[in-house]
């Protein structure tokens, strides 16, 4: 390989003050990536992006990861970005390559993850002619990107690349797509990297809050008796974790987390209540419903955390801090809306916030928590078990709890979407920001494995676990090959229940147990992984978890896989049915309730021995459904 890389040429010329070098569009793309601090590009080649792939050979500093599907590339870029806050980069060809990126782009958009996608496009002269592999990718991605560009001349390329990264990472971060026609990649032009600060007249992310708004918030905090902080993804994205803890401590306010807010504060912190929402802690949801003040920080009142909006936290005043003005008063009307960078705004609040004794409020929350603990099904293996735990069965929730224990709570976990995702959220207690990576807003099955690969590549020093369902894993399992080819040391834990478990749960509750299209005939995941040369273990009993996890952790190169064969028909409790009031939760029965239900069921079975007929079956099923509701 020649030493005379294009970068050397570019920097040499710049250093000697001579005229700028002449580069191709493709080389300019690479130069810009380097200057943005990019070290890894996830992608897949094809005709319209080939000039850029060829240019990449001159830039060994840009490591290209060949995925097995472009969806994998966009999820990997996303996982890479979420693990560090750096911009992730995905690259694909025109047409089908570009459309395959779409799910990953939409996922990144919903969770405000900074990625830049570079797509090849047919030559400018052919645009609009339905040329081979032409697709209007800027049109397709219009509603799912923060911004996108179709580059029509090489002169604008450096500027566009710079803007793309700037827009992706600043303000409320998000995906930006740059579509580059093939002829623009081939053309040559003098490369001048703009050095003046980027000024976009229509784009200026806010920073500090106005004094009047801060006064208003302080006044509400001062008057409140039952305040609660709702901490979202914005806290970690703004790096405002310390300020959050300080505010909570100084004013003695408990904190509830959104799914993506996990990691905003250590879940071991005495003021941290845990996750809110559809599968959040019952005590957390009760606290929100009875609060007299919500302080929402970097969260967006998604329907999965509010339940029925009409009855949501009815007796509370509300403060909402977000960097995106359009989030204020979008779903929930607030008393004080503050637009600004969370770190700055929290520092403004911290200066003057007063300490509040909230003993009665904490006692109330402690009561709810005691009730929740009674119903808890996942207990240390040597503790007395809840009677609802089936003898000798392995529960998905247990797997997560034990994984938490045996990894010391220190791993970065990346989940897929479904029941296993909610168990992760409930039983893996995170301490650090960016240590849980999950598709919250879009709920994208297939996200887990590729995002974990991206996360591990951006944080090679960290232990990374992909916790995936047997359904979602099969959506992107082709990326096993990528992990092997790149020797990415990601530990894969399949929570294998033989079902599209979360959908089955809805069918159980709301569709009278008609399990249509949710049972799956799965491949032997161990044999499958072994075909890729991946070491595997199958776990069927709780006693085997520790050894399997330790064996995985002992592997320090390449991926590992554990197939956790778990109870098929487990339920994620508590559950707020979609659209129900937030405190109207389906709960797991307490041990006493459970025993009573068992007795009642046994008695009922004795009285009606002829329950075989078709007519009597339906009411029996409904009765069973009722008992599972814990009512």
């Amino acid at each position: 390989m020649s030493d005379d890389t294009a970068t050397d040429r570019a920097s040499e010329e710049a250093g000697t003050g001579t005229d700028a070098v002449v580069l191709t569009g493709a080389e300019i793309v690479c130069e810009c990536l380097l200057r943005e601090g990019v070290d890894i590009v996830f992608g897949y080649p094809g005709g319209a992006i080939l000039p850029t792939y060829d240019a990449l050979t001159k830039y060994p500093q840009l490591h290209h990861v060949l995925t097995r599907h472009e969806q994998g590339a966009s999820h990997m870029a996303d996982g890479y970005a979420r693990a560090t806050g750096k911009v992730g980069v995905a690259m694909a060809t025109s047409g089908p390559g570009a459309t395959n990126l779409v799910t990953g782009i939409a996922t990144a958009m919903m969770d405000s993850s900074p990625i830049v996608c570079i797509t090849g496009q047919v030559p400018t002269g052919a645009i609009g002619s339905d040329a081979f592999q032409e697709t209007d990718v800027t049109g397709i991605t219009l509603p799912i990107t923060k911004h996108n560009y179709l580059v029509t001349s090489i002169e604008e390329l450096p500027e566009v690349m710079r803007e793309a990264f700037h827009i992706a990472r600043t303000g409320r971060p998000g995906p930006v797509l740059v579509d580059i026609p093939k002829d623009v990649q081939i053309q040559e032009a003098e490369f001048v990297y703009p050095t003046e600060p980027i000024e976009l007249p229509g784009y200026s992310p806010p920073r500090a809050a106005r004094a009047r708004q801060v006064d208003g918030a302080l006044e509400l905090i001062r008057k409140s008796k039952r305040p609660i902080i709702l901490a979202g993804h914005g806290i970690s994205m703004a790096g405002a974790n310390r300020e959050l803890a300080q505010l909570a401590e100084k004013a003695q306010i408990p904190i509830a987390l959104t799914l993506l807010g996990k990691g905003a504060i250590s879940e071991h912190h005495p003021l941290c209540l845990g996750m809110m929402g559809m599968h959040g802690g019952a005590e957390v949801n009760h606290a929100i419903q009875e609060a007299d003040l919500l302080i929402a920080l970097g969260m967006r009142f998604d329907d999965r955390v509010t339940g029925n909006l009409a009855t949501y936290a009815r007796d509370s005043r509300k403060i909402h801090v977000d960097i995106d003005p359009s989030e204020i008063n979008k779903n929930v009307t607030v008393d004080v809306g503050i637009v600004g960078d969370l770190g700055e705004v929290l520092r403004q609040l911290l200066e003057r916030v007063e300490r509040r004794p909230n003993e009665a409020w904490f006692d109330r929350i402690a009561e709810w928590r005691a009730d929740s603990e009674l119903r808890e099904i996942v207990r240390p293996a040597d503790a007395p078990q809840h009677p609802a735990v089936p003898e000798g069965k392995l529960l998905g929730a247990q797997v997560i709890r034990d994984l938490f224990e045996f990894t010391g709570g220190e791993a970065i976990t990346v989940t897929d979407v479904g029941q296993h995702q909610m168990w992760e959220a409930q039983y893996y207690h995170h301490e650090r920001p960016h240590s849980l990576i999950t598709s919250g807003g879009l709920g994208t099955m297939g996200f887990g494995l590729p995002a974990a690969i991206g996360a591990k590549m951006s944080r090679p020093d960290q232990e990374v676990w992909a916790i995936v369902g047997d359904g979602g894993f099969q959506m992107t399992m082709m990326e096993l090959a990528t992990a092997v080819q790149e020797q990415v040391n990601v530990h894969i834990a399949i929570i294998n229940n033989g079902f599209l478990g979360m959908v089955r749960q809805w069918q159980e509750f709301f569709y009278e147990e008609r399990y249509n299209q949710t049972p799956m005939v799965n491949p032997d995941f161990c044999k499958l992984a072994e075909a890729y040369g991946i070491p595997t273990v199958r776990v069927t009993e709780r006693g085997q978890i520790e050894e399997a996890v330790n064996a995985s952790r002992a592997q320090t190169a390449g991926p590992t896989l554990i197939d956790f064969v778990v109870e098929k028909e487990e339920i994620v409790f508590p559950m707020v049915p979609a659209g129900a009031d937030l405190d109207d939760m389906i709960r797991r029965p307490t041990p006493a309730e459970f025993e009573r239900q068992q007795q009642e069921r046994a008695a009922a079975a004795e009285v009606v021995p002829e329950a075989e007929t078709a007519e009597s079956e339906a009411p029996a099923a409904t009765a069973a459904l009722g008992s599972r509701f814990g009512v």
Binding site: P143, S153, E156, L200, N329
Partner: protein
Amino acid sequence: MAKHILAALVENRPGVLARVANLFRRRSFNIDSLSVGRTQRDEMSRMTIVMESDSAEADRLVKNLYKLVDVVHVDHLHSQPSVVREMALVKVRASSENRREVIQLCDIFRARIIDVSAESLVVEITGEEEKLENFTELVRPFGIVEMVRTGMIALGRGGHTLKDEGFKPNRSRAAARRNVL
């Protein structure tokens, strides 16, 4: 519910209109009219958006417009003293018997007749929405063959202008500036 008139200065980049139109569709904003045209500056176009809504909805639209990178400034002209105009071209059926009557109406409304044929007249009328509506109601009995309206355009009165100071067009990007379509 009230009529809200928003004026937006947008950068003259390809696709801006699509972005704005997509926003209306994507977030289900119900738009009465939208008109787009050049301004005193080559690099910027001005959109006038009219919507029938409550003020929270109008507020939401303003915030969402600002999220678009190409939107430089948005103003709620409803809350400012402003002048509002719309133009319509109306082809009215007019035979030799009733032509005089139609012409009289046009005079009252200060509408101009810009084309005459044996069976019809084309009338150009400019004014506020109400005036246009009154006029069309009055000529409707004669028979409106065809009609087109521009949608409203509006400017703040006196010193009230949309902020474009600080707007520096990007030199290397100038080549890419065509029109908002």
